[in-house]
């Protein structure tokens, strides 16, 4: 493979390691130790502790510093095993069953499982004269506590978010879905990182072929390391050139669970709090988990607000440019006079003015993300001054333009998912250029081009714009509007076979009829 050709000097050693790893354990303890020592050469974090069980059998304990619970090793493994015994000859396997008080003990027969167990933090116990080793489930490493996800804040709803640990994440899912129908398939991707990837779905709700497809796509990945679910996303999406996300990304267990219940598949990647949900559609990217916790009228209104601001974030600067440059007659006279008045001293055409301000704004926004917290405040003050007052005072931009830019900036934050807001932020610029050259016609052309592109997209076989195009009348109840929960009787149809009904109908609450009245 490519890697190996490049690093020729490492080749022999690597090949030897590959060979050693595949071998089964020897019965000779010294030989086993030698092989492990060879594998973990120059790994100062791997600790080898040799001791004698009951004064009779030599044993070796191997663990990685900082990944195992040392107190438990001391009290539950070493102490009981090193105690003397009255018996003349002891059976080591029996002794381990009798004395080691650890809940999870896995038997090991080869070096590769040995390495695997060690790298997840489980200490390995090897005995002299025994071809079997034991991995003790005493892994313990530092992890972040469960916190509220900072990227997806809600007013009402659970405050917990996924963490970097895949075990914690799957346990969060399992805590919400108690049914054993919740299945998790484990895959390891990355030749060096061996990252755990869990494909999570609910049996009978998700289409078998969909799960098969996702598994195949993930298995096809051949890469040295997976550091974030973004790697997986980019390597499994349908159209890799599209700026639009074809997989839903969330940090919230409740969002993941609601998608599982709709028959989608959740992909949990070790080392990141962001889980992937596939397949997804355009409209579901504009939904927030909170939509289902508030009253449906409020949620519907919120959704409309989001779509309105989506259009603002995409089109407002372009509309401004088009109207000012080509279609002045559209503006009521008094307003037009005010606008012309403020633009009188501006040396640039509206298009240049808009581009200037939008690019400055995007730059400030990006800088605000990257800057150390201590300097952040200073930058926002400077930014506000530069964008707002100074630019106007210097006669570079007009007041209405500042308003337009500010509104556009705010608008893109109303979209609940960051990854769908970005393409619209980007596409604003080509549309601005079109608006500057062709007016409203240009905007329309740009908009149509975007819709064409969206119509060609699919996410794991599901048309991106469904259920609007192709129209699925039954699924419209949860796109532009959020129908009341007692009306959401059916699951959205994704692909192939699916479990249609999610609840019984006629659940609209009504007061108990009282016969005594009248």
């Amino acid at each position: 493979m490519f890697n190996r050709k490049k690093f020729k000097f490492n080749r022999n050693k690597e090949r030897q390691i590959d060979e050693e790893v595949l071998k089964p354990l020897y019965s000779n303890l010294e030989k086993n130790t030698e092989v492990l020592n060879f594998l973990y050469e120059d790994c100062s974090d791997v600790i080898f502790r040799s001791f004698v069980i009951a004064d009779q059998i030599k044993a070796q304990l191997v663990y990685i510093k900082g990944m195992s619970n040392i107190e438990e090793i001391d009290s539950n493994v070493l102490t009981p095993l090193m105690q003397q015994t009255d018996q003349k000859s002891v059976n080591p396997r029996l002794l381990i069953e009798q004395r080691v008080s650890v809940a999870e003990i896995t038997k090991i027969e080869s070096f590769d499982t040995c390495v695997e167990q060690l790298s997840v933090g489980n200490p390995i116990l090897l005995l002299d004269g025994d071809q079997q080793g034991y991995a003790l489930g005493l892994a313990k490493w530092e992890k972040r506590a469960i916190e509220e996800p900072s990227g997806e804040l809600v007013v009402r709803g659970p405050r917990e978010g996924f963490t970097e640990s895949v075990e914690v994440n799957t346990s969060l899912l399992r805590r919400k879905i108690k049914s054993p129908q919740l299945k998790m398939k484990t895959l390891k991707v990355g030749s060096y990182t061996q990252t755990t990837i869990m494909i999570t779905y609910i049996q009978d709700l998700s289409d078998e072929t969909l799960i098969e497809e996702i598994t195949q796509r993930i298995k096809r990945i051949d890469i040295d390391g997976i550091l974030e679910s973004g790697y997986i996303e980019e390597l499994i999406q349908d159209n890799s050139y599209s700026p639009f996300p074809q997989v839903l990304v969330t940090e919230r267990p409740d969002t993941a669970v609601s998608n599982l219940l709709e028959g989608r598949v959740v992909i949990v990647v070790d080392g990141t709090p962001f889980v992937l949900i596939a397949p997804t559609t355009f409209y579901s990217l504009f939904q927030s988990g909170e939509d289902y916790y508030h009253h449906f009228i409020i949620s519907t209104a919120t959704r409309w607000l989001r779509f309105l601001f989506l259009f603002i974030s995409l089109l407002l600067p372009s509309l401004y440019v088009a109207v000012i440059t080509y279609h002045q007659e559209m503006v009521p006279t008094t307003l037009l006079l005010t606008m012309v008045d403020s633009r009188e001293a501006i040396p640039f055409p509206a298009l240049v003015e808009a581009l200037l301000m939008e690019i400055t704004f995007e730059g400030l926004r990006e800088a605000g993300l990257r800057l150390p917290k201590q300097v952040g405040a200073a930058v926002s003050i400077v930014g506000a001054l530069v964008i707002g007052q100074a630019a106007v005072a210097a006669g570079l931009v007009s007041d209405p333009m500042v308003m337009v830019v500010a509104l556009t900036g705010i608008a893109s934050f109303t979209i609940p998912r960051y990854n769908i807001a970005i393409p619209f932020r980007l596409l604003r610029f080509p549309i601005m250029l079109l608006a500057g050259t062709f007016g409203l016609l240009g905007i329309m052309i740009g908009l149509l081009a975007i819709i064409i592109h969206l119509s060609t997209l699919r996410s794991f076989g599901v048309p991106y714009l469904s259920p609007m195009a192709p129209m699925k009348r039954r699924d419209l109840k949860d796109t532009l509007i959020r129908a009341p929960l007692w009306k959401l009787n059916t699951r959205p149809h994704l692909t192939g076979e699916y479990n249609k009904y999610r609840q019984s109908s006629n659940q609209k609450p009504f007061p108990e009829k009282e016969s005594g009245e009248e």
Binding site: Y326, H327, E329, M330, P332, F438, G439, L440, L441, I443, M444, I445, L448, A449, I451, I452, S455, T456, P463, L465, M468, A469, P470, M471
Partner: protein, 372 residues
């Protein structure tokens, strides 16, 4: 099959709706007014059966050859040589038809909105955009039309409602002043549009629910008729006897709208939405043409033809007419004679259907003779 995508019957219906109404909604009132005067709103009703007939003939042919488009079954019916000849004529007519549509679009945009923009830029941009959509295939066009339809229709209704303060009922009186003949004569011009329903024969084989094809085709014709009746009523109620002076009365009517000093001069928005409709119209015809050409040449893939065809359409469209005076003279001549859309939308399919039936009867007779 050359096209792997499938659309639903309702998608086809929406596509056809756009394909007819997009230009119709602007130009029909004036064209019909010349003959029908204040009765223009009755004319679409007379044209309605013709649209239905086009769809019905296409559907009958589809029933005989369920997996083929007209390019293929013309060869089954007439033999390879004559089938190819009919196919060639059909493609040529489609070419000219689309070119005229694109020209109309370009002329209208340039004369009404962007007088300083060269026409070939306006036309070229639209054709590139359509090529992008056609390249996506039938499914994409179907989805696009579904996305555009609600906006288009809603805006149409909003315009109608906003025009209500300007209407005056007496402008459409007296109804049928000279009997029904003027409105029937007016409907002759409408045949140009309604015959275009014929190209539905390119879409029938690609339906997911073929049995609903006729139903949704009929709904499409009905929707077009209703929209046109509504358009004509509102135009005649607003403009009365001066309707004939406008090329696009509905657009001019939109200029009239002025509510609370704020909602005024909506024609730019009307134009923007109208462009979306026209875009679908051109896409539908463009797609039919590309698919037909590919089938005529027996190609296995039509996508390689998208750009060359687009280029040809663009060249034809720019060269179509010198100016709108020449065009209106042309239309005047054409709409009183045999129109090209009538040929490819109605006459050719009708001819094919009758030959197909005659051949079928012959086969029956032969079989009958053999039995005896």
């Amino acid at each position: 099959m050359i096209e792997k995508g499938k659309i639903s019957a309702s998608q086809m219906s929406v596509m056809m709706y756009h394909a007819i109404i997009a230009t119709g909604i602007l130009f029909i009132p004036k064209t019909v007014f010349d003959a029908a005067q204040q009765d223009i709103w009755i004319s679409p009703l007379w044209a309605f059966p013709l649209g239905l007939l086009s769809v019905y003939i296409a559907y009958k042919l589809h029933k005989l050859y369920p997996d083929d488009t007209i390019m293929q079954y013309s060869e089954h019916i007439l033999g390879v040589f004559f089938g190819k000849v009919i196919g060639f004529i059909l493609l040529l007519l489609l070419y000219t038809s689309i070119s005229v549509m694109v020209w109309q679009y370009g002329e209208f945009v340039v004369s009404e909105f962007l007088p300083h923009t060269p026409k070939y830029v306006v036309i070229g941009m639209m054709i590139l955009l359509c090529a992008f959509a056609v390249h996506g295939g039938l499914e994409v066009i179907g989805r696009l039309s579904e996305m555009v339809f609600p906006v288009f229709f809603l805006l149409f209704l909003v315009i109608v409602v906003l025009l209500l303060p300007d209407i005056e009922i007496k402008r459409m009186l007296p109804v049928m002043e000279n009997g029904i003949m003027p409105s029937v004569k007016g409907s002759l011009a409408l045949y140009t549009w309604f015959a275009q329903f014929g190209i539905i024969y390119f879409f029938f084989p690609y339906l997911t629910n073929r049995e609903k094809g006729m139903k949704w085709g009929g709904i499409s014709v009905l929707a077009v008729t209703i929209t046109l009746v509504l358009t004509n009523i509102i135009v005649i109620l607003v403009f009365g006897r001066v309707t004939g002076n406008f090329t696009a009365p509905l657009m001019s009517a939109a200029r009239y709208i002025s509510i609370a000093e704020f909602l005024s001069h909506l024609e730019a928005i009307v134009m923007a939405i109208w462009i979306a409709g026209t875009f679908i119209k051109i896409c539908v015809f463009y797609y039919a043409l590309v698919l037909g050409t590919a089938q005529w040449f027996n190609l296995s893939n039509y996508r390689s033809l998208v750009l060359p065809t687009g280029f040809l359409i663009g060249v034809f469209a720019i060269q179509a007419f010198l100016n709108s005076a020449e065009a209106s003279e042309h239309f005047h001549e054409v709409s009183h004679g045999l129109t090209d859309t009538l040929v490819y939308g109605l006459i050719i399919p009708m001819f094919l259907l009758s030959i197909a039936y005659i051949r079928k009867m012959k086969i029956f007779k032969q079989k009958g003779r053999e039995k005896k």
